[in-house]
């Protein structure tokens, strides 16, 4: 791809891919299963740091590092999710928020991964094809799941937990499953990010990063994979597009624009850009209208 784009544009495209993985995976928890997690950056960090550490110190193959990173995040997801998902509503948000912060602070204090200085010299790997390969895999896996009885179980939990239990669905089990799958892909996204940038710093995985991903999910529409993909690209590219404005005015407008976009969106399209519709649904509607 290098001959097609310059380095900067390519990096933007890769970050879009990383964010697509993050947004689509978080949508499984926040959109489809109706839980509110705001610690996705924490899971991303685990995958990123583990994968980078393995690559630097053991020179293990990239694919293995990525998957191990994902698995470590999934394990963390299980450990965090199992106790907290038994609780209702806002508790999960608080626990995941705390978890994200703990991960960041712990990483700041581990010298083996560079602490506050960050981690340099991570072997360059991945890039466009790997990132989009994983993005496609994430989209494929989650959308296939949603077309199965397991997907319907996630939705039932979101719609009405009491009714779901009365229909024989183990709601705790499905919440934990959603959380583990979601964390796995966050870890993968982290690994891809680490090996593309070749540099990691705990500050990349702060609260704001988690909020970014939540914003992507909400902006795209809770429960729409198509929406998450498009919103991930918008949220990745918007700050870049606004960079010239920031350079001229010397003011960081991104937060203002973020907030404004969200407020306007919530006023005009409270269910996000896509609501819970997918591209295929829109296509069906289009076909219906024109046939």
């Amino acid at each position: 791809m290098d001959f097609l784009f310059n380095e900067y544009i390519l990096s933007m495209i890769v970050y879009c891919g990383v964010n697509i993985i993050l947004a689509v995976s978080l949508n499984l928890v926040n959109g489809f299963t109706g839980q509110f997690s705001i610690g996705h950056a924490g899971f991303m960090a685990i995958g990123a740091y583990l994968s980078a550490y393995l690559g630097m110190n053991f020179h293990t193959p990239f694919i293995l590092n990525t998957i191990l990173g994902g698995l470590a995040s999934a394990a963390a997801g299980y450990a965090v999710g199992l106790p907290s998902l038994r609780l209702k509503g806002d508790y999960l948000a608080i626990v995941t928020l705390g978890f994200g912060e703990i991960i960041r602070v712990v990483l700041l204090n581990i010298d083996a991964v560079g602490g506050a200085r960050g981690m340099y010299g991570i072997p360059k790997d991945g890039g466009f094809f790997w990132t989009y390969g994983w993005a496609v895999a994430t989209i494929f896996i989650i959308s296939q799941l949603m077309r199965s009885t397991h997907g319907r179980a996630f939705l039932a939990v979101r719609e009405d937990e009491i009714a779901a239990e009365a229909m024989g669905i183990n709601t705790t089990k499905y919440k934990v499953r959603a959380f583990v799958i979601s964390s796995f892909f966050a870890g993968i996204a982290g690994a891809l990010f680490a090996h593309y940038l070749c540099y990691l710093n705990p500050s990349s995985f702060g609260f704001m990063k988690s909020i970014d991903v939540v914003v992507m999910v909400v902006l795209g529409g809770m429960g729409s994979i198509t929406g998450s993909v498009i919103a991930a690209c918008i949220i990745t590219l918007l700050p870049e597009a606004l960079r010239p404005l920031q350079e001229i005015t010397k003011i960081d407008f991104r937060m203002v624009i973020y907030s404004l976009t969200l407020i306007i969106l919530m006023l005009t399209r409270p269910k996000g850009l896509f609501g819970n519709l997918e591209l295929s649904d829109l296509w069906k509607k289009y076909v219906k209208r024109h046939s």
Partner: protein
Amino acid sequence: MLNGTHNKEVLIDADKVTIKFGGLTAVSEFTNKIVSGELVGLIGPNGAGKTTLFNMLTGVYKPTSGVIKFCGTDTLKFKPYELSQKGISRTFQNIRLFKELSVLDNIRIAAHQHTSYSMVESLFKSPRMRREENKIKDMAFDLLKIFKLQERAYEEAGSLPYGQQRRLEILRALATEPKIMMLDEPAAGMNHSETHELMETIHKIRDQFKVTILLIEHDMKLVMGICERILVLDHGVLICEGDAKTVQKNPEVIKAYLGASYEEIIC
């Protein structure tokens, strides 16, 4: 019992079941047995504790004291979803459909407990998944036909008129393939002829699906027609039990219903 008592299994065996909310005893020493194949009516004035009793039988609330057995096993240690898998299904007084999902999906979710294909299989649509999904879909449409809902299978459940939502909830409960189905005021909000028709259908469902039914009804006369046995709850106490005639004549029942007009009770 009309069908004779031989080879009838005791499904629900409640013994001195009591629940207290703070100072309020919502259900007090409820003792009763429900045998397979029965169609039992549970009636009583507002706040008598009918829904609370349902919530205990389905595992939502744990009784303060007393024992509930289902098919001989103590239900206390089971969660609602486990009791559902064992064969207790229910509807809710304040309709709890999966509103934003399709009518069809509401039914299919209830059939989830009878699927066996894994998450991994759903990625490549294994033969087992296809088989089970086809079976669920056929079953769902068969059920929907009971209330002529098949044409609305792909509409959002929340967009159905109120009465149809109640009917869908009954079908959803039925889709779990229960041994006993508990219906909490299934006729609420329906007019007289609709109610009458619904009661007939419930009777048919009982016979066709060989399912035991426990039915809450606020209004006594509605259950008279179809229930072989009626339980009357008042202030959490089971004050009377028997067939329609016995219940109608019982002075305690008349007293409990005195708030309502006399005609409402006997007509």
